[in-house]
């Protein structure tokens, strides 16, 4: 194995995040309690540098590094950028919540940064081993984040569930990877793809391995029937942790799925298409129907996540360039919407009070018209109503699905999205149609949060009106 400096240049964003994490770890030791904001600043600076480096390093030709373990291409550049941007938003939203509860400690940021690092590794993985490494780094950090509030029993319970089920999912994935390795003799996607095209579908071990891979992917995405952990963890975990695990990791999960299924196993598309189809229909159906019955908004958003995962799978299973691009577009857009929605919940929370039920949104328009407008954009976007970007994302996915003549699937999808519209509308009902409860304290927010939320809401609107830029990035990534 030759050491080559060019290898390091390609992973500069990862290095930046790693250095920031280590830096926060050390600096935090020497900080007095009143100076804990430095952690926050350091983290943001580190992430922004990583964004800049992603931009600087990215955009080139498809290249493979580290003896075939890492790759840099359009997919990795775009997804890295998206993960970093969403993470920046997440950390900004989380700060006031942490500060109110005297939890503005280094560990939160260190764990968060390591999770981000894991996602970045997943995104640029070119072998099953690297993907798995990234996944575990992300998952372990997130397990710890969920248990971050050590006083909270619910949080500890959620972390335990998350850990056990997450480990189960990882186990399935690893088992599938080992079968694929046995069948093809390699863990590198390129080599696997080549071996598959030579051997064809005859190899039953191969197809069996895919079953486990898809189960693993289903677990990580939270697709029905592997969704059981999602609502409990969303409800039990502290909201900042939910914000971090509910937004950017969906982009990483998308990377996990595309890297493995598209880069490695495109040849066997016919086999995994059917599996994803079942997962997609079940996810859209169950997610949307059960969400209606929720009064806890975190639980509701958990089921809404499940239904959106169904849509992402629709794009993936189309198996075409258009389909992958639409799924990618959807995943990025979803991460932005989820970050915004949980961000609003954090804004509504204050010392000693967590906004968790739909009732807590009552009269938001009276309390702060601007945040009410942003939340409305987010909700309409999740429901897929134009002119927000949620509509564009759904349109692209539907287009990909109709292109492969699965008209019935498109009809199922739109039908469930109408059902889904109901619970998003209910949120808006609480925001606009109900008056605030008496003595509701004024919302206290910082300028940073307001700027971030404004960006978050307006970008959903702007991308809906002018989707071309992001869309062409997504499409060129897959050509």
């Amino acid at each position: 194995m030759q050491f080559d400096v060019a290898n390091l240049i390609a992973i500069l964003p990862e290095i930046a995040v790693l250095i920031t994490a280590c830096l926060v770890l050390v600096v935090d030791l020497y900080l007095q309690d009143k100076n804990k904001d430095v952690n926050h600043t350091l983290t943001l600076v580190g992430l922004i540098i990583a964004i800049a480096l992603t931009g600087a390093v990215g955009g080139g030709e498809r290249q493979i590094f580290f003896d075939g373990n890492l790759i840099q291409d359009g997919i990795s550049d775009l997804l890295k950028g998206a993960i970093l941007v969403v993470s920046v938003l997440g950390f900004i939203y989380a700060r006031p919540w942490l500060k109110d509860r005297d939890m503005l400690v280094g560990e939160f940021y260190v764990l968060g940064l390591f999770a981000v690092l894991g996602m970045l590794v997943m995104v640029s993985a070119n072998s099953f081993l690297t993907v798995y490494l990234g996944l575990e780094l992300q998952a372990l950090s997130l397990y710890a984040l969920v248990a971050f509030d050590r006083e909270s029993k619910k949080g500890a319970e959620a972390a335990m569930k998350y850990f056990v089920l997450g480990a189960l999912g990882s186990g399935m994935l690893l088992y599938g990877i080992s079968m694929l390795y046995g069948a093809t003799g390699s863990v590198e996607f390129g080599a696997v793809a080549q071996a598959v095209s030579e051997e064809g579908m005859a190899n039953e071990v191969l197809v069996f391995g895919i079953v486990f891979l898809v189960i693993g992917i289903g677990f990580k995405f939270g697709a029905v029937p592997f969704h059981m952990w999602v609502p409990d963890i969303y409800e039990g975990a502290p909201t900042p942790a939910v914000l971090i695990l509910g937004s950017a990791p969906k982009i990483a999960a998308f990377a996990l799925a595309t890297r493995m299924l598209v880069d490695g196993l495109q040849e066997l598309h016919a086999d995994w298409q059917g599996m994803l189809l079942i997962l997609a229909v079940l996810s859209m159906g169950l997610g949307n129907l059960v969400a209606i019955a929720q009064s806890n908004i975190k639980r509701m958003l958990a089921y809404s996540t499940i239904s959106h995962v169904g849509f992402i799978f629709l794009g993936l299973l189309a198996g075409s360039t258009q389909g992958y691009a639409s799924a990618m577009f959807y995943a990025i857009v979803y991460a932005l919407m989820a970050a915004g929605a949980f961000g609003i919940l954090l804004i509504l929370s204050r010392k000693g009070f967590d906004a968790e039920t739909l009732e807590d949104l009552k009269g938001l328009n009276d309390r702060d018209a601007w945040y009410a407008a942003m939340m409305t954009i987010i909700m309409f976007s999740m429901a897929g109503v134009p002119p927000t970007v949620g509509f564009m994302a759904k349109l692209l996915v539907l287009e990909a699905v109709i292109r492969i003549d699965l008209l019935w699937l498109a009809l199922v999808a739109v039908f469930f999205s109408v059902i889904g519209a109901f619970y998003y509308l209910r949120v808006i009902k609480f925001i606009y149609f109900d008056r605030a409860v008496l003595n509701a304290p004024a919302l206290v927010t910082t300028g940073g949060v307001r700027v971030a939320m404004t960006f978050n809401g307006l970008i959903l609107l702007m991308l809906g009106l002018f989707p071309t830029a992001l869309l062409s990035l997504c499409q060129s990534a897959f050509i």
Binding site: F391, L398, L411, V414, R426, I428, T468
Partner: protein, 525 residues
Amino acid sequence: MNEFPLLTLVIWLPIVGGIVVLASGEKSPSISKWTALFFAAITFLLSIGLWIGFDSNTAQMQFVERSAWIPTFNVEYYLGVDGISMPLIVLTTFITIFVIVAGWEVITYKPAQYMAAFLIMNGIMVGVFSALDGILFYVFWEAMLIPMFIIIGVWGGPNRVYATIKFFLYTFLGSVFMLVALIYMYFQSGSFSILDFQEMQLGITAQTLIFLAFLLAFAVKVPMFPVHTWLPDAHVEAPTGGSVILAAIMLKIGGYGFLRFSMPITPDASASLTWLIVALSLIAILYIGFVALVQQDMKKLIAYSSIAHMGFVTLGFFIVFTIAQNPALSSGSIMGIEGGMVQMISHGFISGALFLCVGVLYDRVHSREIADYGGVINTMPWYGAFVVFFAMANAGLPGTSGFVGEFMVILATFRADFWWAVLAAMTLILAAAFTLWMVKRVIFGEVKNDKVAALKDIDQRETFNLAVLAVAVLALGIWPAPLVNVMHTTVENLVVQVTTCKLPSSERSDCVLTHSEPIVAIPND
């Protein structure tokens, strides 16, 4: 032909105005009101420019603007108007002014947001009428729901949440299937341009499915029996302005959809399903007419009367297919469509005015129950005069605009089928019965209670609203020629379109329409 982006301006100026009004905040209501009125008025004046610059000798799209929007999917920002959409745009900008004026003093909770919602709504509705790209149309079509949803939900009556969610979900359910149909047609024709859709050939199965998908979307909007149930709820709960926009413009969008999409794109399916539409229209005219008769709530009564009148519109449009099978009577088909169009415009004025009338009483007494009133004319003579006038127009009195459309449609229906015409003509009796009976109970008679005795007659603002609308109703009733002329060439062309068989050559033998030759697509420059 026109370099100046007039349509873009008419769409986006009110939207920008709405954002300005929103930004002005709730600190100074009078500034936001005047700003809103200013933008509404400018938009109306600009849309008059559309009428003046319109060339009524051609069926081509005018004021066309075309530029790429999402190039990868051939989605374009493609606007243009013809003789069908242009009058509806002018109606939209015209009615918006009254809505803003009507909410002037009544709306006390967050007036800036109220005004802004109507301005934004105005722009979006103009967008619906002028979009010539399927996706652009769909975006405007759906976006329209957002302000309306909020208007009903925030400023509506006691049961507003139920009504507005029902309204939203009904329309949303109808339109998502239209979206699937649009995407399907994109793969058949290679672009999202509505004009390309109209030149495309489709087998009868595909046509029927597309027709049904569109029917679901437009029937909910019109609304046609049996998907009309959201309308009475939405109307009753909406604030006056919301009811006016709903009745005057939003219902017309459904009718417009039939003319722009269903009939020209899927003429063969339309022809084979004409019986369905005619049946539903006649049910709307008759059954809903009887339902209106027994209403206790004035707004509900007018809402049902709207459904009945819109039944006339769909009847007028679809008898074309029956008439077309008898080539000797082709002029009847033009009359049917034109009658439907005149009916739409006229109903925009009349129903808008009637809802404003109810709003006047509601603002004073806070009740819409017919039983709470009686003898209003004694305390509000001017108001009583206006109500009687608009009620007569609603009943289709000759000389008012209500008569023209109904007369044309009934005349055209006679050419299609004698008994349909007889049934449709029943509306003249029914509409007279339910409106005049309401007028009798509310306006005439002895002063019923103290509240009525304490009523004050309409002020300048209300008089302005009602007087202008009354002039419009009279003008259209006495001299409908300008309106009919402006749309005539377009309608002629539309009739050729809808009577042209669009089946592919393999199914050509099944054609029932007169022009069985495919239209030769005019090559684009």
